[in-house]
Each structure stands twice: as C-alpha cells, then as structure tokens.
C-alpha cells in the first residue's frame, strides 16, 4: 500500500494524473475557503477568502527570490572548499 502511494508520487507514468489531482485540490481549497464561516476575525485580510492561498504563493516566490539574491549577488554561497 505504502509502496503504491510512494510510486504514485515518483513514477513518471503517473505524471498526468498527479498534475490533475494537484490542480483539483487547489481549486477545491479556494472554493472551500469561500464557503467556510468566519468568526473572530482579527485583521482585514482574514475576511478575504483566498487570501492565504495568495499569501502562500507570494511568500514562496519571495523567499526563493530573496534567498537566491542573497546567495548569488551578496555572496553568501561559496565554494565547498571555502574554509579549507
């Protein structure tokens, strides 16, 4: 059972169904976010359905860009023998 699940995420043969499942999940989450009741909202953004999806995507992209900038341009990334 476990092997089959793991294979589903690894084998190229399942790439199509994997992608379909992934997009279906994304859509379902956004739809569900519009339907759930919201009580005790603290901040404005919490009232916006789909906010967390947008924030998650934005955070992910921002983190990648900022880190790679720091690594390549600012020079945090060095050759492996840097300290030798």
């Amino acid at each position: 059972m476990i092997k089959r699940v793991v294979d589903f995420f690894g084998d190229e043969g399942y790439a199509r169904s994997r992608r379909r499942l992934f997009y279906l999940v994304l859509v379902l989450i956004v739809v569900a976010d519009f339907l759930v009741p919201r009580e005790h909202v603290e901040y404005l953004w919490e009232r916006l359905p789909g906010w967390s999806a947008a924030y998650g995507f934005g955070s992910c992209v921002l983190l990648i860009l900022v880190s790679k900038f720091l690594g390549h341009r600012v020079g945090l990334m060095r050759r492996e023998d840097y300290y030798d």
């Binding site: 976010d33 967390s52 921002l62 690594g71 060095r78």
Partner: protein
C-alpha cells in the same frame, strides 16, 4: 518508599553499566531505562525536592511543576525513540554520551536553582560534543571543537550572569528575572543569563554552532542533538524570561532567517538544521509575547517539534546510513528502494509544515493565534510566511531532491529495522498529537482555550501550503541544489581563528625572530666579551693580589714556624732577651720622663 526518583539520575547513573553489557542484554537495558523514566515522569508529584545548603547558598535540586513535567515527558519519550534508532550501534560510547546528554537535559528541566542548572547545562555541552567527535574525520572533529568552544563561551557568560544575578537578588533560585514579565529593569546579570540561554536556543547571530555541528554529527547522534539543546533553552527562556519584548522580534527574525538559508542549502541535514532555527523562532516569539496562550503555544510547539524534527533527522540519517551521501546534488531516485523511509519522512514533513491532522497544525497555529490576539500583525505575517517556507523546504525541496527527482542509480535499501521502528514510533506520535490535541493540551502549563480545527483555519492552512506547492512546481528549476556552502555567522570565528593564527605565525613570529636575531648578533657577543674581560681581570688582577697576599702570609707563617723550635733553652733565652729588652725600653722611657 522513595517519594522522588530524579529522572536525570536515572539516565546519568544508568549510563554507567552500558559498556559492560553485551548483545541482547544491552539492547533490553537501553530500552528499559528510558521506558522506566517515562513512567517516573508521568507519576511525578508537583513540589520541591532536595533542598540543601552548599557553600552558603540555598540550592534546590529539583522543582516539579507543569512546565517542567511537560518538557520532561517529551524528553523521556524522545530518549526512548532515539535509543531505539541507535540500537544497532555495536560500540557503547555513543549510548553512554546520549544517556548523559538526556540526563543533563532533564537535570536542567528540573533544576530549582541556577547552580544546579549551570552544572547540568555544561554537562549537556560536553556529552553532546562527543556525538560529533564520534563521527571522526577532520571535518567532524573541527566542527566538534568549534561546537565545544562556542558552548563553553556561552557557559561562561551564563555563569557570570548567575553570579551577578545571585549577588543582586540575594538568591539563586531559578525563576522569572526582572525585565520580562516581572516589574523592574533587567540588570547586567540578567542580560548575561539571557545571552547564555539565547546561544543555546540558536538565536541569530548566535546560531551558527547548530548548523555547523549537527550535519557533522553521527547519524544517530544528530537525532539526539536535534531534540535536546535548543528545546532545553526554550524551557529556560519560558521559565526566566516570559514576556520579554526583545524575544518577540528575535523569534520572528529567526523564523525567517532559517527558511532563507534553507533555500541555499545543499547538505540534507544542514537544511534540516536551518529549520530548527526557524521553528525555534516560533517558540522564542511565543515566550516573548508572554500571554498564557503564547507560552502554551511555545511549550506545545516544542513538544511537537522534538518529535517531528527527530523524525526528519532520522529519515535523512537513514539515507546517509545506506547511501553514504548527504548532498542533495548527489541524491535522487531513492523512492523505489526506500518507500517506507519516504513515507515516514513525509509524516514528519507534514507535521513540521502544520498540515491538518499532523502535530504542527495544533501547536504552531496556537503561537500564531496568540500573536494575533496580542495585536501583532507583523509577527503574524512573518510567522505565516515562515510556515510557507517550511513546507517549501522540508516538505517539497528536500524529499524531491533526496527521494524523487533525477535518479542517480544509487545502491540503496531500507535502513536497519530498529531505525524504521524508531521512525514509526515518532510518526505515530506526530499523527496522534495532530488528531487528539486535547491530550497534549492537558499537559500544558496554563488552561487551554483554543480550538485548532475550525473550518476557516483548516482551509487557510491548506491554502497557504498547497499554493506554496504551486510556487514550488513553477519555480522548480530555480530551486535546483547547488554545490556550495553558505556563509553564516560562524565566518567570524572560523576566519577570525585563521586571522589569529596568521597573526601568530607571521607578524608575531617575525617580531620574535627579530628579537632573537638582535640578541644573537649584538647582545650575546657583547656579553661574551664582557665575560672574557671579567675573567681576565679576575685572573690577572684580583687573583694575583689575593694569591700574592696568600703567598706572603704563607712565607711569613713559614718564617714564624721556624722560630718554634720546641727546645726549652731557646725559649728561656728568648724570654731573657725579652726581659732585657723590656727593661731597656722602660729605662729609656722612664729616664726621658723625669
């Protein structure tokens, strides 16, 4: 009936027989001690134990309350899991070190005074350093020395703080220090204690020891290390500095610092180590906020973190154990040969990423909700962003490049059975906490009024995480690991040490050589010349005078000796001559006097 068995002693004294046991008996014994310790911790009664006076100070060996019990519970559970993971090791050294390490961590957790705390604190540093030294090889030994140096330095700061605080407060009892939740300004002693604690919590810029040493430790040692040092620091911060504003901001920065570095990382365990920094950030921020809910959140997150982080380290360790490789650029395609490891690792990854039904979801969200209740919008946004980064790395990037991705045709198999069993134990707990959070909430120091499973909260979390996954899919090529290392704050002491050595070897050595040249070329000949001249004066002047005088006395003595004939008539003659001479002298003088 003994009313109190200190769990720390159970481990520290329990480590003594390990080297003398062999085979199956040793394995049974190794599992038995942590199991007994779990039972002991679960049956502990709140109270103070072991009050004594040492060198004029009241000390309190053990203080049991809810905060210490919840940490001790997870520490003993983790000791059992970690020991099972290490059962296949043929040599006793690492088992002994791990037991002493766990014992010292428990000693800190129950310490009622700062002296007891300090002793166990240093014990932890030395026992854990062994787990890095045991790996062997230049890199590990270098990292272990740096680890030890950094912790001993932190320990000195802590000891200095303890002395100053003890003098100022008049007591060494371990409790809240003024400046945080307690009224009054924090003094220098308080700041030194805080610095010692923050170093062990790996708060930037004092974080580099962690990401330097953990990836170099043994496969089984790193699992123990990921669980104890930083979480002991979280415990002491929660005890002494709740509500310290500085910690809120340090925690938020930490949470992001770790995930930013994780993007750049190529070593699988160093990537996980950066996520310790990130996750401990949530706990430090929670303690800084200091409300009951925030401290509950920090405590429960520490509990969950110990288990899922150990699970992640065990998963990465299993890969290192069977392939001998640790760089993401060299790994890939292992899912076919290691499906169980993949599945168990992913449980840890879902738990750290705070997926619903996994442990992180019911603990991390409590910290974020507490920040929201305390009207700290920026902190909420920073911690939420860090959650996205956590899933990006430990849930997507690391497993993708380690287990899936490009197949490098590595020869691999599942790790030894005891390793899988240990991972399964941690995985079951990660899910159990996520599904039944009430059991964990009941252990927390304050009553819990927090419901993690609301519809909005579930969809928000899933939205955040799955759209992070979308970002991952779209930017996959940008995330390809690169064969590099990243500069962190250890640069200062690694390059600093090199600069010091250069200074010692070049300018200092040159100066020393110049000084010795001057003494060789100028001072020594001068001294030799002076000595020779002195010798000549001595021989020809002083000696001649002394010798001459001696010869004269000798000659005079010889002449006088000749007068001593020993013949009575000669003496009689001499006496008569003397008497005549005396009378003559007398007569002359008397005559003149008249």
């Amino acid at each position: 009936m003994i009313d109190f068995v200190h769990p720390a002693l159970l481990f520290i004294l329990g480590a003594v027989p390990i080297p003398f046991l062999k085979g199956a008996i040793r394995k049974v014994y190794l599992v038995l001690i942590p199991s007994v310790a779990i039972l002991v911790v679960l049956t502990l009664e709140p109270g103070s134990y072991g009050v004594a006076r040492v060198i004029g100070q009241e000390i309190l060996f053990a203080k049991v309350d809810k905060l210490s019990v919840v940490f001790a519970t997870v520490f003993t559970i983790m000791a059992l899991v970690g020991t099972v993971y290490a059962l296949h090791l043929p040599r006793a050294g690492q088992h002994v070190a791990a037991f002493v390490y766990v014992g010292c961590a428990l000693g800190v957790v129950f310490a009622g005074d700062y002296l007891t705390l300090y002793l166990f604190w240093e014990g932890m540093a030395f026992a854990s350093a062994y787990l890095v030294f045991a790996q062997g090889g230049d890199r590990a030994i270098g990292a272990a020395f740096r680890y030890l140096m950094v912790h001993v330095t932190g320990g000195v700061a802590l000891l200095g703080g303890i002395v100053l605080h003890g003098l100022a407060a008049g007591s060494l009892f371990f409790g809240p220090i003024a400046g945080g939740g307690v009224a009054g300004a924090m003094d220098i002693g308080g700041y030194l204690i805080l610095a010692g604690f923050l170093l062990n919590a790996a708060v930037p810029p004092l974080n580099a020891w962690l990401t330097d040493a953990y990836p170099e430790a043994t496969v089984t040692g790193a699992v123990f290390m990921s669980a104890f040092t930083t979480k002991t620091a979280v415990y002491v911060l929660a005890r002494a500095f709740p509500g310290t504003e500085l910690l809120v901001w340090l925690g938020a920065v930490m949470a992001l610092y770790g995930v930013i570095y994780a993007v750049l990382e190529n070593d699988c365990r160093r990537l996980l180590a950066y996520h310790i920094v990130s996750q401990v950030g949530y706990m430090v921020a929670g303690i800084g906020i200091g409300t009951e809910m925030a401290v509950n959140g920090a405590t429960s997150h520490a509990f969950a973190h110990i288990l899922y982080k150990a699970l992640l380290f065990m998963g990465a360790g299993a890969v290192i154990e069977v392939t001998g490789r640790r760089k993401l650029t060299e790994l890939g395609g292992l899912y076919k040969t290691m499906p169980l490891t993949v599945a168990l690792y992913m449980v840890g990854a879902f738990a750290i990423s705070a997926f619903p039904l996994f442990s992180g979801f019911v603990t991390k969200s409590m910290v974020i909700a507490a920040a929201g209740q305390d009207h700290r919008a920026l902190v909420v946004l920073a911690l939420t962003m860090a959650s996205s980064g956590t899933f990006l790395h430990t849930g997507l990037k690391l497993p993708y490049y380690m287990f899936f991705g490009r197949d490098r045709k590595l020869e691999a198999r599942e790790p030894p059975r005891n390793m899988l069993v240990a991972m399964a134990m941690a995985a079951v707990l990660c899910i159990a906490i996520g599904v039944f959070p009430e059991r964990l909430y009941a252990l927390l120091p304050y009553p819990v009024a927090f419901e993690p499973y609301t519809g909005a909260h579930v969809t928000e979390s899933l939205g955040l995480l799955m759209f992070t996954a979308l970002g991952f899919v779209l930017f996959l090529r940008a995330l390809d690991p690169e064969n590099t290392i990243s500069i962190d704050t250890d640069w200062f002491y690694r390059k600093g040490a090199r600069a010091f050595l250069w200074f010692a070897e070049k300018p200092l050595a040159r100066y020393e050589k110049a000084v010795s040249n001057v003494s060789d070329k100028v001072a020594l000949p001068l001294l030799h010349g002076a000595a020779r001249a002195g010798l000549r004066v001595d021989l020809n002047g002083v000696d001649a005078a002394v010798n001459g005088l001696a010869r004269a006395i000798l000659g005079g003595g010889g002449a006088l000796r000749r007068l001593q004939t020993g013949v009575a008539t000669h003496y009689a003659l001499a006496m008569i001559a003397g008497v005549i001479a005396a009378i003559t002298v007398f007569a002359v003088v008397w005559q003149q006097g008249v």
